[in-house]
């Protein structure tokens, strides 16, 4: 049986992703060009994680 995690441990990564997403949403609103690129990079994080957890990591465990 694995150890029980604390609430802080459970929400550590979700909180970081939330902050990155928020920064990504605002970046393209603040400026153009470089700001847009920052926005694309930051909003790619949740999309890439969804892909990784759905397809890559699970397969490696099999």
């Amino acid at each position: 049986m694995r150890t029980v995690r604390s609430v802080a441990a459970i929400f550590r990564w979700p909180l970081l992703i939330a902050l990155l997403t928020l920064a990504g949403l605002l970046a393209a609103l603040v400026g153009d060009d470089a700001w847009d690129a920052v926005s694309w990079a930051l909003l790619s994080v949740p999309v890439a994680l969804c892909g990784y957890f759905s397809f890559v990591r699970g397969r490696r465990q099999d």
């Binding site: 049986m1 459970i10 939330a18 970046a27 393209a28 694309w40 999309v47 957890f53 759905s54 699970g58």
Partner: protein, 390 residues
């Protein structure tokens, strides 16, 4: 964590809230996700279908005709209609789109449009926005063909979505006590795979979904927000100028001179929209000139300048209230049209992930519902986890 969030009774209540807020809105949210997908690429689809109207190439920096000539050109084919708005094309400043209807105060669903070349007054096209596939997607996304009632209904569904997202976050904790972040158990049983996918995709895309949901709700209130703002401005004008406003008559002062007066009052800004008196964006007896700056933020946060058509004078109005700023910022944050094509692609991918979250939630509910119907009552999954039997 406090008993409010994590006691078995509290979790049962959060579970109830999550189940019902989700169940009520899920089918509508699936509809909104699917219809929203083509709407994200509205501009690109328009281009691909060859419907986009472009200004013909001419020598650079040709002078523009006065706004009055633009209106005259648009009404050439529609003498029975009155102009409501002049929109300047954002990507093509040589083009004006004139929106016309039978009266200034209609619901504008039957309005007609003319695209006018500002350099020579030629009518480049009269696009229809009330027919075809994209119109179907738009109406299903915005008001279900039911006008304001449909908008407010979808807004309420959006509020339920926000509730279901927040309750989902509370329920996320007990499910994750013994799992790694992002862990998806695929070998155990179908139900666990659906559950882990639902939790993982839901928590990773949570912020985007919350922002899209909340800004979508604010957008459904657009008519109400604009009417409140209008009433506030009219009230302020009555205090500032006791003379009866109804005495103003359209046509005494040229539209272009009013636009120029507005531009003089706000140096450094450019015209985005001109609203005729009596429309949703103006007052009953004033023209409204909407100006924008040249940064992404100031190009969205339009500044409204009311002009008296009798005197051509700019009216003193209070600064834009916070709720109008909220509406103006909610638009790009909902549409995803403020950071080029890559942002739109990310919007589409996050939209598709949200479809999976909605669908997996539905699958989980359906399986549990079916299990609960069998003679041996299946234990409630939330209470199960809360009781430490994950």
């Amino acid at each position: 964590m406090s008993a409010f969030l994590s006691s078995p009774l509290a979790l049962r209540r959060w579970g109830w809230l999550h189940k019902w807020s989700s169940l009520v809105c899920t089918l509508f949210m699936l509809l909104l996700c699917l219809t929203g997908l083509p709407l994200v690429f509205y501009h690109e689809i328009d281009h691909a279908l060859g419907k986009h109207i472009e200004a013909p190439r001419m020598a650079a920096d040709l002078p523009h005709l006065p706004a009055d000539e633009i209106v005259r050109a648009a009404r050439g084919h529609h003498a029975h209609l009155v102009p409501l708005y002049l929109f300047r094309e954002e990507d093509d400043p040589d083009l004006w789109v004139v929106k016309m209807d039978t009266r200034p105060d209609t619901d504008e669903t039957k309005a007609r449009f003319s695209v006018i070349d500002a350099r020579n007054g030629s009518v480049l096209g009269e696009p229809r926005f009330d027919e075809g596939f994209m119109h179907l997607m738009y109406r299903l996304h915005v008001d279900l063909f039911a006008g304001l009632a449909g908008r407010l209904f979808l807004g309420f569904m959006g509020l339920l979505l926000v509730l279901s997202l927040l309750s989902g976050v509370v329920l996320y904790a007990p499910f994750m006590r013994r799992l790694d972040f992002g862990e998806v158990r695929r070998r155990r049983s179908g139900r666990l795979w659906w559950l882990d996918m639902h939790n993982m995709l839901g928590i990773v895309t949570l912020t985007w979904a919350l922002v899209i949901g909340a800004t979508g709700v604010i957008n459904t209130w657009a008519d109400v927000i604009l009417k409140v703002w209008q009433a506030e401005q009219i009230a302020a004008l009555k205090v500032a100028a006791p003379a009866p406003l109804a005495s103003a008559r359209v046509g005494q002062v040229s539209i272009q001179s009013m636009v120029n007066a507005a531009l003089r009052s706000e140096p450094g800004m450019a015209v985005a929209t001109i609203a005729f008196p009596g429309t949703l964006l103006s007052s009953p007896s004033h023209f409204a000139v909407f100006l924008h700056g040249d940064t992404p933020l100031t190009s969205r946060l339009l500044k409204a300048v009311l002009v008296d058509p009798a005197s051509g004078q700019v009216m003193e109005t209070p600064p834009r209230p916070w709720y109008v700023s909220a509406l103006l910022l909610s638009q790009p944050l909902h549409f995803g049209d403020y950071g080029g094509l890559p942002l739109k692609v990310l919007w589409a991918l996050l939209d598709l992930i949200t479809v999976v979250v909605l669908w997996s939630g539905l699958v989980l509910w359906w399986r549990k519902h079916r299990a609960a119907g069998s003679p041996k009552h299946a234990p409630d999954a939330v209470a199960d986890v809360a009781g430490g039997r994950a």
